[in-house]
């Protein structure tokens, strides 16, 4: 994808003397782009090239010991844990994206109009997504812990018995969904708020005058106008959620058992704990193809939204 950036500028350099200002001006755009192009290539083209090579290499204790052909890919396809992690990831991603979209949109509707204190409320909603995901993990580890948390005592006080959220498979998964919703609903909230604010009010008011109820106005007028922008938020969140790692690393490391082992945790363990880079990178390449397709969708949605809001 990036190669064009680094290699093309040479063609602009022939024939004319670079001393004349006209030539400098003509070369300028290329000169401006080259350094950034090199930096981008270093973190995109090069690692992907390395990853493809590693995925065809056999590793033992982290050292390459010869060519593997397609065997790493075959191993991945036949690895039940890989498919299980994929299923867990899909379940997690669908759950959090749906909940965050609904909640984010509701919150945005609630604080759309200006009133006293609205700025403070908007800032409060924003904060969870600004801090490091690791810190989010720490916070919820404290909250879920039976020693320092308030979840267990609360349930006990209600006579329900301490849930010990992170110690049981289902509750650990739900616990992680709650953490993600706390952290990332703000993103959908912000995008919905920006979208709602960019919608012209006159048609909505006209519909209200014509006697349409608030639900009808929302479904027939607001939502269709909001969807192009909402779609950007949803797809960005979707791509990001597939890679969820930090909070899980801090909270459960994929456990108990494999209940919260998303694909990112499994890949990380395969590559770095078992130092099987071949198997690890083969998984990555498979995932990369999938995510790249999503990114292409994201780009076309973003282009459309950008034209709408500018």
């Amino acid at each position: 994808m990036t190669t064009g950036l680094a290699s093309t500028p040479v063609s602009g350099m022939d024939a004319h003397s670079p001393r004349r200002p006209w030539d400098f001006d003509r070369l300028l755009p290329y000169l401006l782009v080259i350094p950034a192009g090199v930096a981008l290539a270093l973190v995109s083209v090069y690692p992907i090239f390395e990853a493809i090579r590693a995925s065809f290499t056999r590793y033992l204790y982290g050292r390459p010991i010869g060519s593997a052909g397609f065997s790493n890919y075959v191993d991945v396809a036949q690895d039940p844990v890989f498919w299980q992690s994929m299923a867990t990831t899909v379940e997690f991603v669908v759950l959090v994206v749906v909940i965050e979209t609904v909640l984010g949109l509701s919150l945005a509707m609630l604080v759309l109009n200006e009133f006293r204190g609205v700025k403070f409320i908007r800032l409060s909603i924003l904060l969870p997504m600004t801090i490091a995901p690791v810190v989010v993990g720490v916070i919820w580890r404290l909250i879920y812990s039976s020693e320092t948390g308030f979840v267990d005592p609360m349930f006990t006080a209600l006579g329900l018995g301490a849930p010990r959220v992170l110690s049981h498979e289902t509750s650990a998964f739900v616990g992680l969904v709650v953490v993600d919703v706390w952290e990332w609903t703000p993103l959908l909230f912000l995008i919905c708020l920006a979208g709602l604010q960019s919608i012209p009010q006159e048609p909505l008011e006209a519909a209200a005058v014509d006697g349409a109820g608030p639900i009808r106005i929302f479904l027939n007028h607001t939502l269709p106008l909001l969807i192009p922008i909402l779609a950007v938020g949803v797809i960005l969140r979707l791509i990001d959620a597939i890679g969820t790692f930090d909070q899980i690393y801090v909270l459960t490391r994929g456990g108990p058992g494999t209940a919260t082992q998303l694909i990112s945790i499994y890949t990380y363990n395969t590559a770095f704990n078992f130092t099987d880079y071949g198997h690890g990178t083969a998984m990555l390449i498979a995932l990369l193809v999938f995510v790249s397709l999503l990114i292409l969708v994201a780009v076309s949605l973003m282009r459309r939204a950008s034209q709408r809001t500018s």
């Binding site: 782009v33 973190v43 995109s44 969870p128 580890r141 706390w182 930090d246 690393y249 801090v250 990555l284």
Partner: protein, 272 residues
Amino acid sequence: MMNRVLKLIALIAIVVCCLFPFWWLFVVSLRHRVDIFSGPAAWPSNPTGENYTDLFGQYHMGAFLLNSLVIVTASVVISLLIGTPAAYALARFDLPTKLGSAGLMSALFVRMVPAILLVVPFYIALGKFGLLNNRLGLIIIYTGINTSFVIWMMQSFLAEIPKEIEEAALVDGDSRWSAMWRIILPLAGPGLAATAIFAVIATYNDFLVALTMTSTPKAQTVPVGISTLIGKIQVEWGPMAAAGVIGAVPIIIFASLVQRHFVRGMTLGAVK
């Protein structure tokens, strides 16, 4: 009337849900070790700073902060220096269409692709050059990642500056180069500041890249430092909470500075 009361209750509940976890972190960070085991409390009965002194004394927090400071500053400054000119070129000149869109696409790709997909190859590559557990290695990677972000953000800000302003300067005899420095850069100042702050937040918060490329306090950053506390001192909640507070405070300050630009920052300029 009923509606307004309900809305007020909802708003209060929302603010509590968002802020109470932060408060909980802060309270645990101020509690004595013995008090922590006596059950949860929404207020520290006799607050102490011992968790913070332990954190800097025994647990290398000073080293983590210094590493983060060096790595964040270097990578953000370099990426602004190389990303802004590229953004200007993409926003203003008629580059061959393919070159322009290839540049933007690769920038977008680097920004959006989940980090887990890049860290294994990064690890192999840095290992080859002897840059593992080294600040320079992290600076190189973060510079690349931040450059992609700078290109998208700055392109979106620069596109808002009317072309006529430069054209007037060019007619007056300025060269492209001096028009860029004298006219555009000052106008793009606020956008540049916002972009810088977003890059600082993203780099300071990043965990996975730093986790995999570093192994000792020689190069570990704040989030990685926090995670090492969890492994080693499973039951020592106080220092862990204190580390969380130190990890969060600078970011909360920065984030409130760029609140106005947050949507643009998070959607790479697609939604303004």
